[in-house]
Amino acid sequence: MPLVNYAARELTCKIVYYGPGRSGKTTNLHYIYDRVPTERRGAMVSLATHNERTLFFDFLPLDLGRISGFNTRIQLYTVPGQAYYRSTRKLVLQGADGVVFVADSQRPQQDENLESLRDMHEVLAEQGVDARALPLVLQYNKQDLPGDLILSPGELDDVLNFRQVPRFTADALHGVGVFETLRKVSQLVLQRLSAPAAAGIP
């Protein structure tokens, strides 16, 4: 649930980009970073190896200013995709208000996608989070690659989108689908604030 401090009139959301290694999570954040006015963004923290692999996590805070009387902040995180950074992923996913699952559309990456999606559900389950209640958006990245190298959105849907959540095709490197994905996940996260549970109804 997004953190709302009614006394201080502050609203903070945490959105995590999840997915297999090299699927384009950090690329998403870089694209966003480049298009956010300087006064609206904090420093992007990125801990990467010498070959640009995310070692720990990326963090991009966005300050959206005062909206409806609330100082609104969105924190964007990515997790390291490689399988052996599971504990880091678990740490980053903690307290997430919404998740963008960035899938690699390349055919050979299908198993990686599935494994990562399963891993995400396991991590959420370990944290006692009902994955069905958590806002989730799928992003099928690298759809700009030649058709014979990638799976079509329909094929990816069959494998990954069994919950029929919103999904976007993307070319994160060139920004296609990046803001659309962010907009949708933000919308889902904020909508939860007006859900009965947010109004104090048990």
Binding site: R35, S186, L190
Partner: protein, 593 residues
């Protein structure tokens, strides 16, 4: 001056202004009752003035006769300055005394104006104290108005402060569509949509751009296309085409407005509904001022439960006493306990009047020769209690059986109509009740209590001698009951003419009644022979315990029976009974005279 075009109907409502509009509508429904003062704020061209003028227009329409004033702060400051310079400050003070709704626009101009702030504070205090409504608008919230007096800030923040944000793309499109429609502008599909995609948040700016597009379209002689929009408006006027982040920010803004404070809008809507139903909503308004969202549905449910209880109490109170109808007490959930106590007290106060003593039965009434006509009349009254204008006056000396006859009639009426309320009361007790009711201001309830009875029996009316108010009340009550076909039986130890100080009205009532007489039993009758052997004409008399239906029907047909060939009826003793029932109209004329 209120522009008649600025109505609620022409206001585009979106996520950015929903709370402000909802609150304004609540003010229209019940000016002064909730959100007082209502303070709306937002940037230029967001529709604050439109909203204020819409409130004025709607209040005038909904509450004709209510004095309403819309005033721009600049005008107010000018007036204040002029009044101060001419030494007529009192004129300003008096100006707002009769205003029921004051809408003050551009409140930010109060910044640094100490004198004006004092005057506004005084006006708000005065209007609030007398339940009059103040609505204000500014381009910023009260706490951001520089050098604002702390007391005024406190007062302005004490009502409801609602923000009007920039219109989202959807609202901009609707605004442009309405402007075009109102002005008869025709554009090719996509033109207004293209303009709506701009980042303009000022309605006046949008309006200006639309005017220019229409002018250009007229000049070039063919319709503009969406691609023409920005070249026509000119590079300098083109708002930066929204980039990805701006568009994203707009979407997030709409989502936050619709979600984060949705409870406030929801609660404000519920307040407006309850207020529209006439209930005081102070409890809900307090919740509206909370920093953290309460459980709105739970609050609303609790409020509904209380209002349902109040409605039940009100129905019960009105049943007991119609004068309770419309009492504010039953529209204020804060006063539920008070309403409960009020109804409980009313029920106790309005308990049915005392009835006849059961030991006196009509069938046990001594059937002496002297009492026989009185008994027969009593039998007929019991048989036909609904006869309009029925009043019986039982006249007899002490110990002649008046009490027995009166109570006996009462008991017989109760037996004849189960669950009927029959009041049987000595005149002295009646007088005490009336005096007490007059003294504690509950005479209306006393009326309601007695007007609910099916029959009224009052003993010893001679004891009302000199009790003018009581006589008046008894006469009024007797008239009301008789008009409704409910019998009235009064007893007296002497003829009406022999009564002392008697109000003309009660005298008319008594004289209009059928007089029956009771007499003490003779020695022989007292010895047990209450039913003497009939002699002469009396031998042919019918059994008074079984009056034929035909006789009863004839009796009930109308007051005038004499001269109808029924003079042979033994109980129609001309010396004992008044057979000619005076016309009610005559009585009325006599009363007026």
């Amino acid at each position: 001056m209120v522009d008649p075009a600025t109505r609620f109907a022409t206001l585009v409502v979106g996520a950015a202004n929903r709370l402000a509009v909802t609150a304004a509508r609540a003010v229209v429904d019940a000016p002064g009752a909730i959100y007082n003062p209502l303070f709306v704020h937002g940037g230029a061209g967001r529709g604050k003035t439109h909203l204020l003028q819409a409130v004025c227009e709607a209040v005038v329409a909904a509450h004709p006769g209510l004095a309403v004033e819309y005033l721009a702060m600049e005008e107010f400051l000018d007036d204040l300055r002029a009044a101060s310079q001419t030494g007529r400050s009192d004129a300003i003070k008096g100006r707002f005394q009769r205003i029921q709704l004051l809408c003050l626009d551009d409140a930010q101009l109060l910044a640094g104006q100490a004198d004006a702030q004092s005057e506004v504070l005084r006006i708000i205090n005065s209007m609030q104290a007398s339940g009059r409504q103040v609505v204000m608008a500014a381009d910023r919230p009260p706490q951001e108005i520089p050098e604002l007096d702390a007391r005024l800030l406190n007062r302005l923040s004490g009502g409801l402060v609602a923000e009007i944000g920039p219109p989202d793309a959807e609202s901009r499109e609707e605004i442009l569509h309405r402007i075009a429609q109102a002005r008869g502008f025709q554009f090719a599909p996509g033109v207004t949509e293209e303009l709506a995609r701009s980042a303009m948040s000022n309605v006046r700016e949008l309006q200006g751009a639309l005017n220019r597009l229409f002018a250009q379209q007229g000049a070039q002689g063919h319709p503009l296309t969406p691609q023409d929009v920005w070249p026509v408006l000119g590079e300098a006027r083109i708002p930066a085409r929204p980039d990805e982040f701006t568009t994203f920010l707009e979407d997030v803004t709409s989502s936050v407005a619709a979600s984060v404070e949705a409870w406030r809008t929801h609660l404000a809507e519920r307040i407006a509904v309850w207020s529209g139903l006439g209930y005081r909503t102070a409890i809900l308004e307090q919740a509206l001022a909370l920093d953290e969202p309460p459980n709105v549905d739970e609050l609303d449910t609790a409020f509904r439960v209380v209002t349902e209880r109040l409605a039940t109490l009100e129905r019960e109170a009105i049943r007991l006493d119609p004068s309770y109808a419309g009492q504010p007490l039953f529209r204020d959930p804060d006063r539920l306990q008070e309403a409960e106590q009020c109804v409980a007290m009313a029920a106790a106060r309005l308990a049915p009047p005392a009835g006849p003593e059961s030991k006196w039965r009509l069938q046990d009434f001594p059937r002496t020769a002297a009492n026989r006509p009185a008994l027969a009349s009593a039998q007929l009254l019991v048989l036909h209690p609904a006869r309009v204008g029925h009043l019986m006056l039982v006249i007899g000396p002490p110990r002649s059986g008046k009490t027995h006859l009166v109570h006996g009639i009462g008991n017989a009426l109760k037996v004849a109509a189960a669950d009927s309320v029959v009041a049987c009361i000595p005149a002295e007790a009646l007088a005490r009740e009336v005096v007490a009711a007059v003294e504690d201001g509950s005479i209306d309830r006393w009326h309601a209590r007695y007007r609910a009875v099916q029959a009224l029996l009052v003993e010893d009316v001679q004891k009302l001698d000199g009790r003018e108010r009581v006589q008046q009340e008894l006469a009024t009550l007797a008239d009301a009951l008789r008009r409704d076909g409910r019998p009235v039986v009064l007893s007296c130890d002497r003829e009406v003419a022999a009564l002392g100080a008697l109000s003309p009205r009660l005298r008319a009532v008594l004289e209009s009644g059928a007089r029956v007489f009771t007499a003490p039993a003779s020695a022989a009758e007292a010895a047990g022979r209450f039913t003497p052997v009939p002699e002469g004409d009396e031998a042919a008399a019918p059994n008074i315990d079984a009056i034929p239906e035909s006789e009863a029907a004839a009796w009930s047909a109308g007051p005038e029976t004499e001269g109808a060939g029924r003079g042979e009826r033994w109980w129609l003793d001309r010396e004992k009974l008044v057979l000619r029932w005076p016309d009610l109209g005559e009585c009325l004329l006599e009363d007026i005279a």
